[in-house]
């Protein structure tokens, strides 16, 4: 009685699972549910992955981190504060309107002026947008800015349909209308975002899928299980310890690329009473702490050796990376000598705030074991992310293990973290000379001289003052089915639909 029933049930189940996916429907697994889909108000990284299908930008970056035109066709600096951008002809928004200089002016001003805009700080040097003719805009900046153009390769460079944006107001993100290869179809919060092919896309010849579905799946194991069972075609990121499983699977492929950001330890040097520790007050103690850390071993133990140990905020793929500025090898004798020289009694108690996720907790534990040998008693405080962020801003921390997703331009990885007025300088590091160099590097348009400036900043802020300890650059580990072809990993970690094809 029970046996036949069970068999029938199992047979029915296997039929259910065999339902084929629509042939050219690309399903992408995301790490979390994106926030609002309005380029002006959005702030999450996963949201940018959705935007890569929805909203084209004035410029884009390629796998060599070069800035290439997208909705623009070219640009030219009239002088260091005046940028002229030529626009692509025949580009249509998803509502059928034509993308032109007026739309660019509207979108840039929206990024600049809308209440609560997260783009303003990115393009704050933008003073005025002038429409030269139907397909040319002139941007006037308040100061020369080397980073400005790179900002237009991300959300600040996304052009929205003025008509749709005016009509929707702050609700624009519920139904975004841009000029990307796909148009918004549907969103069920925490379940899926669906976009459909836009036939009138200006670069339609490079789009080979009809529909993209974004599925937020927070658990890494489950995300991978979805890929293995064919419920997803591509997964935004998997953990390094899942890499061997993907390598063993003949139906799956890996695309591993460098990231733009870094993992670091923020040190409270001047933010409130908790900076009044030997570590906060004496660069020699911080140097000893750093010299006790073996980045290679950490990387091997926690990340299967996949990440890239570093001592600076800019990764090697970036032209501003300084190859001569390398992490110092672990040196316990020098560390102990520095502590003796500083005249502090060991063991020195240090507290480290660690975001509460498994791999970072493990990183904390390995560091704890390493620095103990030099004379540090490291206490770990695992904290839920929102709480840890507030504690950092308030100065309620001694050291804080925190990652930065990174920006194309080195200014985005340095200024806000090292400048005394930097918005993310939670440790309140302040050195007038570093401030001056950062400001200079920001407006220096000559590449070689700029690179030299950053080299001097690293020497001062990192090697001399030990304002922060840079640990490694992570990797973007994308896994996809072997049926998917044409995926090009770019350091920003986005999944660009152009050229993607399902066999």
């Amino acid at each position: 009685m029970i046996r036949p029933f069970l068999l029938a049930a199992l047979a029915a189940l296997s039929l259910l699972a065999a339902l084929p996916a629509a042939a050219q429907n690309l399903r992408i697994g995301l790490r979390e549910d994106p926030d609002i889909l309005d380029p002006t108000l959005a702030r999450t990284f996963v949201g940018r992955i959705v935007f890569a299908s929805l909203c084209d930008k004035l410029f884009d970056i390629n796998e060599r981190l070069e800035i290439i035109p997208q909705l623009a066709t070219g640009h030219r600096w009239e002088d260091p504060r005046t940028l002229v951008i030529a626009l692509r002809d025949g580009v249509r928004f998803h509502d059928g309107d034509t993308m032109d200089a007026e739309a660019v002016k509207y979108s840039l001003e929206r990024h600049l002026n809308m209440q609560g805009s997260f783009r303003r700080s990115e393009i704050t040097v933008l003073q005025a947008v002038e429409v030269v003719d139907r397909l040319t805009v002139r941007l006037r900046l308040s100061a020369p800015s080397a980073a400005f153009l790179s900002q237009l390769t991300d959300r600040a460079g996304m052009i929205v349909s003025p008509r749709a944006a005016e009509a929707a107001g702050r609700n624009f993100g519920q139904r975004p209308v841009c000029a990307g290869p796909f148009r918004f179809a549907e969103r069920v919060a925490q379940d899926r975002i669906v976009v459909e092919r836009f036939p009138e896309y200006w670069d339609a010849a490079r789009i080979h899928v009809n529909r993209v579905t974004f599925l937020p799946i927070p658990d890494s194991t489950v995300r991978l299980a979805n890929l293995q069972s064919g419920a997803l075609e591509i997964v935004q990121s998997i953990d390094p310890d899942d890499v061997p499983a993907v390598r063993r699977n003949a139906r799956l492929r890996l695309a591993i690329g460098d990231e733009l950001g870094y993992q670091s330890i923020t040190i409270n040097i001047g933010n409130g009473p908790r900076a009044q520790t030997p570590l906060g007050q004496d660069a020699r103690v911080r140097a000893a702490f750093e010299l006790a850390i073996d980045r290679d071993a950490l990387n091997r133990v926690v990340y299967e050796g996949m990440y890239l140990p570093t001592a600076q905020p800019v990764p090697p793929g970036n032209p501003y990376h300084n190859a001569a500025f390398r992490p110092e090898p672990r040196n316990l004798e020098r560390a102990r000598a520095l502590l003796r020289e500083a005249g502090v009694a060991t063991p020195i108690r240090v507290e480290m705030t660690v975001p509460n996720n498994p791999d970072l907790r493990q990183v904390g534990e390995v560091i704890q074991a390493m620095v103990r040998e030099a004379g540090f008693d490291l206490r770990l405080t695992a904290m839920e992310f929102a709480s840890s962020l507030q504690a950092a801003v308030r100065g309620d921390f001694e050291t804080y293990l925190l990652a930065w997703s990174g920006r194309v331009d080195p200014d985005g990885n340095a200024w806000a973290f090292m400048h005394s007025r930097g918005g993310q300088n939670d440790g309140r590091y302040a050195n007038p000379e570093v401030d001056r160099l950062l400001d200079e590097a920001r407006s220096e348009l000559d590449g070689e001289r700029r690179k030299d400036l950053y080299g001097r900043i690293w020497e001062l802020a990192i090697r001399q003052d030990r304002s922060r300890i840079y640990l490694w650059h992570r990797k973007n580990i994308v896994a996809h089915t072997a049926r998917l072809q044409g995926f090009v990993p770019v350091a920003d970690g986005l999944i660009r639909p152009q050229g993607l094809r399902l066999q």
Binding site: L16, L41, A189, R192, I217, D219, A225, A231, A386, V393
Partner: protein, 316 residues
Amino acid sequence: MSGFLLRRLGQVVPTLLIVSLLVFGLQQLMPGDPALILAGEERGDPQVLAEIRAGLLLDRPVWEQYGRWLWRLLHGDFGFSWRIQLPVADLILEKLPVTAQLAAMSFAIGVALGVPCGVLSAVWRDRPADWAINAVALFGISTPNFWLGILMILLFSVQLGWLPPSGYVPLWEDPWQSLATTIMPAFVLGTGVASVLMRHTRAAMLTALSQDYVRTARAKGVPERVVIAKHALRNALIPVVTLGTIEFGRLLAGAVLTEQIFTIPGFGKLVVDAVFNRDYPVVQGVVLATALIFVLLSLLADVLYMLINPRLRAGA
């Protein structure tokens, strides 16, 4: 009966008011600045943070925030999610059917397994079958849902390829696919419920079977099947019904871990993500809706008592 119902319904409003005060108060104690977490990596611009705080009324005193929220609520407006700017009422209405379906399926599995097993293990007390059922139930109570869930995904989705590993399809869109996406989480949750129900049914049945009226019924020569089903089980069911409605309420409040593992976009996932993102209007809305569900369910339990036990009807 109607007087009783009215009295009970009258208690709903003050209960919800107290719950809303509690939620609001607890949120104040929660560390983490909502504006800061909302800004995330873009937190470097103080002007933006100030604008966010002003826009969300976070710069106003707590009582004013509460008053405005309550006032809008009385007009049927649950407010907007801070993170994705969608109306909270829409989110709740969107997630409720998902969780309700999952809860109904889990509960059905739980009752179908739990109650008969409880009765049988009481009837077969201290025999190998009783021990076996107890052992399985103990296993069911102690197994963490997320672990069982992951194992099921690895077996049925990755190895065998029979079921989709996660996600959800609404019942009205595609009933088969909907069943396929919910059967694993429903089983994971259902076994937990079954274990609890089994243990309680067994205990209640043992008590009932040792009562005088059971002995009398047996002495009168009533067949054992009728004694168990009619005399013992019906009396034993009263505590089980109470427990069952509580369990069902728990399921409706959202199965946090199970929904996370199977990526079911239900109540549990909604509220957990909202807490981590400090999306207060969503937390408030969901907790209030959950409280309402619990209050109504306990009312339902009282009504069910009366249907099962005629003696209670006289009191009302």
